[in-house]
Symmetry: C2
Subunit: 129 residues, 2 copies
């Protein structure tokens, strides 16, 4: 069905270049989705639990996100105990939402392919023996 000529004009059709490496890494995707769901910010320990990450891993990924200016970290005190608050920035939110648009395209491409394949196997099952 898919000859070389047909494919030649579709260079990079499935390249998904918008899958930004800073965001695509699983732990960081997890951190950013937690933070976008909590726009007022999350305490380090709550974020750690939501993402099921160790202290060290979460710190490392937060640093990458902070360097990319996607996350803000604020150290403060709660009842005299030190605490770290993490928030997504305006830039982080925008880049994350652009990234998710590309994820949606992957899901649509997969769903379209799966439906065609289901359709084909249904046709095979319904074919007279």
């Amino acid at each position: 069905m898919s000859g070389p000529k047909k494919e030649a004009g579709r260079e990079g059709r499935f390249a998904y270049e918008g899958l930004d490496r800073v965001i695509h890494e699983r732990a960081r995707l997890s951190v950013l989705t937690s933070l976008i769901a909590h726009p007022k910010g999350l305490r380090f320990n709550d974020l750690k639990q939501l993402c099921a990450l160790s202290d060290g891993n979460l710190s490392r990924h937060l640093q990458v996100l902070q360097e990319a200016q996607m996350v803000q970290i604020a150290k403060g005190f709660d009842h005299n105990r030190p605490q770290t608050m993490c928030r997504i920035t305006v830039l982080g939110r925008r880049r994350y939402l652009e990234y998710v648009e590309v994820l949606e395209q992957v899901v649509r491409d997969a769903a379209a392919a799966d439906e065609r394949e289901q359709g084909r196997s249904l046709t095979r099952r319904l074919a007279p023996v």
Copy 2:
């Protein structure tokens, strides 16, 4: 809004553990989506174009996918010229579709968070001055 007690019961809520590392890497996600959209298989060169990958990169990622038994590689001839055909396996298809279900969850979580935030900013705009 999100106190520690509320979050405590949601350990790993945003961990997305189903984001299989073999599939999640961007180039491999690109290869697998191309192959699921072409269940009869693709020639190496067509796959390379669809994914916008170099020969070396495509070979390397195909090897990882072949070792994971998610992709089959067959060397053959077309008009006496050697060619390599790549296909997704039944296992590859199953694992890929499971992975895409998790991606869909990420997209749903992001969309829900974005709608809440849009709703809030709308409320702010509509508030009497």
